[in-house]
Symmetry: C2
């Protein structure tokens, strides 16, 4: 009898952790394990804003897949792009091949949602993956370099507009506030000439976060030159400006750098596969399987789980994806070897948002508020804990974030 084929799509937090767990728990004779990913590396999506700002090199953020999984023996790794999933045929179409599965784990992550705002797709920069993050870093450098090479100086080169005051937008603003003085030094520009402008549609940035912590974050960032425009909707992004509307008035800011951080959605391949979706995401069963398919698991940003208490979905965080991978790996093994199916129960450990400059805010277990250096320590603990789980002490030592002072 042939071994069953387990195919894992996507090497993000969920797919990667599922892979490493199955690698440990399943013998090579029990199943064929195949990981498919568009790149030959995994990356920490929660660090991309640092790569984009230029405060952390992208090679710190990414990890070659072959350094984590044993691709010589137990696991097949296919570097390719997923084109479509055909659940009825138990088949996945890749750009260069087709593969069949007995069990499928979909962890294809998010895409940006632009809500149809004109020009975002063409002109805005994105903090979406390694490619888009380092492009943004180079775009900033290029514009600062270009400033003094033009006869007519253009403030559009030095204004940076961040669309969206959610986690990514705020964390990016914080890193940028750290980076700007270095860019100014490099390209002979006065710091006062540079503007970092955060535009958020809600009445406050980080909506839903504790107001005291939001206040702390805004003060910290404003002190380092970040401007906030809340209750303002982006109306159009152009090559050299952005238009927003606030109090029924439209305002145009000259900028060649609009960074879009205001919306994500599930990878559209999931919706196109014909599976039942809720706003593009698969509302998975308690054992993390798709409602209509007993052989398909969905994890991370492509899945949605409702919190019965609040009536809202659990947030699409790395933390949740990693927790889900425990259940997915366990249940895949159970389906193959026999055994009980587990149910996913989220354990919300808290959230920390970095503000750059060794500052951060966070809510941790039991609704405890954290800010300042204590929150930055917690942030590093979370990041380092993940690296340890993913690749043990050697990965932690290579990629971890350590601070000599605490």
């Amino acid at each position: 009898m042939n071994n069953p084929n387990i195919v894992i799509l996507g090497a993000g937090y969920g797919g990667m952790m599922t892979t490493t767990k199955l690698q440990k728990s399943l013998g090579a004779n029990e199943a064929n394990l195949t990981l498919v990913n568009i790149n030959d590396y995994h990356y920490q999506a929660t660090w991309l804003h640092e790569n984009a700002a230029g405060t952390l090199h992208h090679d710190r953020t990414r990890i070659p897949i072959k350094e984590i999984v044993n691709t010589t023996n137990k696991i097949n790794f296919i570097k390719d792009k997923v084109i479509s999933i055909k659940p009825a045929e138990k088949k996945v179409k890749l750009e260069n091949s087709e593969i069949f599965y007995d069990y499928l784990v979909i962890g294809l992550g998010f895409e940006l949602a632009t809500f149809g705002i004109p020009g975002i797709e063409e002109h805005a920069f994105k903090i979406e993956n390694i490619n888009s993050a380092r492009l943004l870093r180079e775009h900033l450098d290029y514009n600062f370099a270009k400033y003094h090479d033009e006869q007519k100086k253009r403030e559009a080169r030095l204004n940076i507009v961040i669309g969206g005051g959610g986690f990514t937008g705020i964390e990016f603003a914080g890193e940028l506030a750290n980076r700007i003085p270095e860019l100014c030094e490099e390209y002979d520009i006065e710091k006062a000439q540079v503007r970092i402008i955060n535009v958020e549609g809600a009445d406050t940035v980080l909506p839903g976060f504790d107001p005291q912590l939001v206040n702390y974050a805004m003060n910290s960032l404003e002190a380092r030159g970040v401007e906030f425009i809340t209750g303002a909707m982006l109306k159009e992004c152009k090559a050299a400006s952005i238009v927003y509307e606030k109090d029924e008035k439209q305002v145009e800011i000259p900028t060649m750098t609009t960074v879009w951080t205001a919306g994500v959605k599930a990878n559209s391949i999931v919706e196109k596969s014909g599976m039942e979706t809720n706003r593009g995401k698969v509302e998975v069963r308690k054992d993390m399987r798709a409602p209509d398919y007993d052989d398909i698991f969905v994890i991370g940003d492509c899945a949605v789980i409702m919190d019965q208490e609040s009536g809202n979905p659990y947030p699409p965080t790395a933390q949740i994806a990693i927790q889900q991978s425990n259940v997915v790996a366990h249940n895949v093994k159970s389906l193959i070897n026999g055994g009980e199916m587990e149910e996913f129960e989220p354990n919300l450990l808290g959230t920390v948002a970095s503000l750059g400059n060794n500052d951060a805010i966070g809510m941790v277990m039991n609704n405890r508020k954290l800010f300042g250096w204590k929150a930055t320590v917690m942030k590093k603990v979370i990041d380092n804990r993940y690296l340890f789980k993913l690749g043990g002490i050697s990965l932690l030592m290579r990629k971890g974030k350590f601070n000599p002072f605490y």
Copy 2:
């Protein structure tokens, strides 16, 4: 009686060395010395190709003027742009002021000449000053970063065309050949995807240079991936391609990076001043003064001196400009204090072209040919010697190029 006003325009090789020499030879009570420059720094124009390729940081190439001349006491430094020179009124118009002189030294350097080739002005990159050199560096980074961020891959982002196989073009090609492997590593690009193409109008690169050395240089660069197209004229530069004509056929190469190194002319302010010029340059008298004005000296790229033997002008090199500064400084002092006027006699010590990668070619005194590491040593000796002359041992230690092996 008032002290005479000496005004030196431009802090390039000629202006800078004239300033430091006059600072030493003239007492503070003998004259007012004013240096005017568009930037508050001097730079080694002969190192700009390294800044542009990204193999040497531009801060190694530039030197704050206040670190070389004593601007607190003996010398007035005005950071401003020269708009025009009015010899009849003994006046120089700057962007923000007007200054009068008794003695004027014009060392305003070169401008690029595009010979009317369509699109060069708008689309080609230049290795002209610190601003344009670091812009080119960032442009290369940006295009390599953009390559993988686009759905449709564009070879125009990875083709680099250098227009001109003179000194700058060849030296830049050599540095670029060093830099490309690093850029490929940084942006996940295969080295074989990148092309460096040098297009030269003459039948050989480095026309006028010893054929054996030219051959050596071409072999060295070809071995590192540089392609040469000689006997080819650039016809048009577009945003994403360049057209050249060879053997009566036009060829279009997709590229977003055309680097124009094929022509320089004297700063056009000189011609517009109404002084008699020869192809934009002032054919100075033997004492380095303009033919029609006893109070105006012209130095470096704005001046031309014919070699009576060959009938050709001496080349517009840093070496010649530095030698001229001895005569100019001496003669300015003679005009003020009385004394003999000296005549300029060039002492052609030789020329070395760097090829990157610790390789170089050179012709030195007595027509001795040099290549390989010996030529690179000679190149460093020349550069370091200049720094020592300009700012003594402390400047040499800070900015000099040293190699631990020789």
